[in-house]
């Protein structure tokens, strides 16, 4: 059977499964809608958290990014997993004991202030929207690539699907759909990895194969380092970012992960404090399966790619190269006219993406109009490392189709989780808690459904017409979360003396500073600047670390200059430190 047929079958079967689950797990009350009724088992919650967490970016792009950046890619591996340690040890159990629906709820109550609540809602919306816009784009790209439809149709199909299970089931429907999606995505990620590891190193476990030997008895990583140096790249296992920047980015990603509202909210869905701890453990274990496989895939596919294309003449290139050239993810400009592909360090093109002309070159390649002066002749989109990996390694058609189903599961589950946070922030934290406190349970549920609908339209719009800044700022959603929520929550639990003045000024300064830095260095506003102008030699990706520290210092100083929080708040802090008597996640 062809790849196309397999794709339709696998995508169809998995979607039928998600819909079936969404219908089975319909939500009837706000409690079911927001926290799935609070009765999810730790393992199921761990799986849902893992699926929620692993987005299209983790599934499709991460291995590719690592593949091209080698050691520097470690920031994502450590950053996106290490945050779970912080989450499990410093946040999850206490927030579960606190027992409310949302992060702004915690901030609002802990800091006895609707101003704090509003600041938190705004931060949650900024973080979630930057993140979800990127996801919808991801959904569109995956659909369009595998179902051969234009990207905007891909986005629309994705919107319809997410909307169905989010509207029907709320958190309850989403939780159980995500459990299924986790299974699909991890299976889809691992199968090709097993095959390729076996092929290249003779060891079926990719994590071990990565450190194994290839034909000729040489260690795979040594071989790759050598290839990299020969072609003029920096050594794969050393990278080229400064140690400080690697440090700052990793810390920003870790604290950002722990501060992301759609991840935190998952720990409200389990019955007990004990379960919240355990569930964070399961979540990380399940995430680690993918995150330790990704660097292995990165090494395999990098070596495979270099060996296959380097100095190969275009007429002998395998079929996949031309297929992906057709979809615009590969471009080759024969600069020295020898008909062979020279792949060396340097950018093959002026600008980021190939601009194709309609013409074909002498060898039959697609011509580009923006070839650069550099010697390098090959442009490869890094997403190809996961998407095309099975083809590059000559795996059977059903494996290729499986990757499509997995990518969709990853993108959809994350988009659904984020939309739920957005709708909860609006219906619960804004409408119920501030604008219209007497709203009935049913009215609030309707408001939640309406806001999901509106949120998805906005997210879909940005998915179809991505403003240039989306791609630039998605990675910075972590910096924003690190700069705003993380300190406010941690201090709220561990510093009894922390008061509303301290927390609010910390959050505001933190997020404004981060937004300013993003705009200046990522979007070139306020005069822009290059890496030479970075403050404290810190990249925008790592700047969240600085903002977080600034937030903490300001919070501490301001809180000590203003009155202590009221006694009942101090008692509340005492009580969330004790795990027993958590009760159900409740409204009041």
């Amino acid at each position: 059977m062809s790849v196309q047929t397999w794709t339709w079958i696998l995508v169809g079967v998995t979607f039928a499964l998600y819909f079936g689950i969404a219908i089975w797990a319909r939500a009837g009350s706000t409690k079911e809608f927001y926290v799935a009724g609070g009765g999810v088992s730790p393992l199921a919650n761990g799986m849902a958290t893992a699926a929620d967490w692993m987005s299209a970016a983790s599934f499709i792009s991460m291995a590719g990014i690592i593949s091209f950046s080698g050691y520097d890619g470690s920031v994502y591996l450590m950053g996106w997993t290490g945050g779970y340690v912080l989450l499990a040890l410093l946040l999850a159990p206490y927030l579960r004991k606190f027992g409310k629906f949302t992060v702004p709820d915690f901030i609002g109550d802990r800091y006895y202030s609707n101003t704090a609540r509003t600041v938190a809602v705004i931060c949650a919306l900024i973080v979630s929207f930057t993140y979800v816009a990127g996801q919808m784009r991801g959904v569109g790209i995956v659909f369009s690539q595998f179902l051969q439809v234009p990207i905007y149709w891909g986005v629309i199909i994705g919107m319809a699907v997410v909307l169905t299970f989010a509207l029907l089931g709320g958190m309850k429907g989403i939780t159980y759909t995500q459990v299924a999606q986790y299974c699909v995505l991890i299976f889809a990620f691992m199968v090709p990895a097993f095959f390729i590891s076996m092929q290249m190193t003779g060891n079926i476990i990719p994590q071990i194969g990565m450190g194994g030997t290839v034909e000729g008895g040489e260690f795979l990583l040594d071989k790759l380092d050598k290839l990299h140096v020969e072609l003029g790249f920096s050594e794969y296992t050393s990278g080229k970012k400064s140690t400080w920047d690697v440090f700052a980015i990793t810390l920003a990603l870790m604290t950002g992960t722990a501060g992301l509202p759609h991840v935190i909210v998952r720990f409200f869905t389990v019955p007990k404090v004990k379960d919240a701890r355990k569930s964070a453990g399961y979540a990380l274990l399940l995430i680690a399966i993918l995150y330790t496989t990704a660097p292995a895939i990165a090494v395999f596919s990098r070596t495979n790619l270099i060996e296959t294309v380097s100095n190969t003449s275009y007429s002998e290139i395998p079929e996949w190269f031309k297929n992906w050239e057709d979809t615009g993810l590969i471009a080759w400009a024969d600069k020295n006219g020898d008909g062979k592909i020279q792949y060396v360090a340097g950018s093959a093109l002026e600008g980021k993406k190939p601009v194709y002309t309609d013409a074909r070159g002498v060898s039959g390649e697609r011509m580009v109009s923006n070839a650069s002066e550099a010697k390098n002749e090959l442009y490869v989109d890094r997403d190809i490392m996961v998407l095309a990996n099975p083809e590059i390694a000559n795996l059977p058609n059903w494996v290729i189709a499986l990757v499509a189903a997995g990518g969709l599961a990853a993108a959809l589950s994350t988009a659904a989780g984020l939309l739920l946070v957005i709708s909860t922030s609006i219906s619960h934290d804004l409408i119920k808690k501030q604008l219209k406190p007497n709203i009935s349970d049913k009215g609030e549920l309707t408001a939640a459904r309406v806001s999901i609908f509106v949120a998805i339209l906005i997210a879909g719009y940005f998915g179809i017409n991505p403003p240039g800044f989306v791609a630039a700022v998605v990675a910075l959603a972590f910096g924003l979360a690190a700069a705003s929520f993380f300190p406010a929550i941690i201090l709220g639990i561990f510093d009894k003396r922390m008061n509303s003045q301290g927390a609010i000024s910390g959050m505001v300064v933190g997020i404004v500073l981060m937004l300013f830095y993003m705009m200046k260095f990522k979007l070139n506003m306020f005069g822009g600047g290059t890496s030479e102008d970075w403050w404290f030699k810190t990249s925008p990706e790592g700047f969240g670390t600085i903002c977080m520290l600034v937030n903490v210092v300001i919070s501490l100083v301001v809180s000590r200059m203003t009155p202590a929080p009221p006694q009942e708040v101090q008692d509340m802090v005492e009580s969330i430190r004790i795990p027993s008597g958590a009760g159900e996640a409740s409204d009041h």
Binding site: L77, G82, V85, F219, L221, V246, R277, T292, P579, S580
Partner: protein
């Protein structure tokens, strides 16, 4: 201070002690072995891996998982000791 409160603050103190130790390990394997001392560790090899590189890309993640489950065990024991488990 009432008995109950003393009990609670003793529990909290032990909890903080665990947190400090576990977070120290967290910091050492990731920021220490994977970043700050990577170059020194890279001179040591673990099969095909340079040790610092291995910590940065795999080792620290394994340790993170273990850390959380150790924490779960320690806290469950602590809850029992102070009668807070349910």
């Amino acid at each position: 201070m009432s008995n109950k409160q003393q009990h609670a603050s003793a529990y909290w103190k032990e909890n903080i002690k665990y947190l400090v130790i576990l977070l120290l390990v967290w910091f050492v394997v990731s920021f220490g072995c994977g970043i700050l001392f990577r170059e020194e560790l890279d001179t040591i090899r673990l099969g095909g891996f340079k040790l610092g590189f291995w910590f940065a890309q795999q080792g620290s993640i394994y340790v993170f998982v273990i850390l959380i489950f150790v924490y779960v065990r320690l806290m469950n024991k602590l809850d029992k000791k102070y009668g807070y488990d349910e």
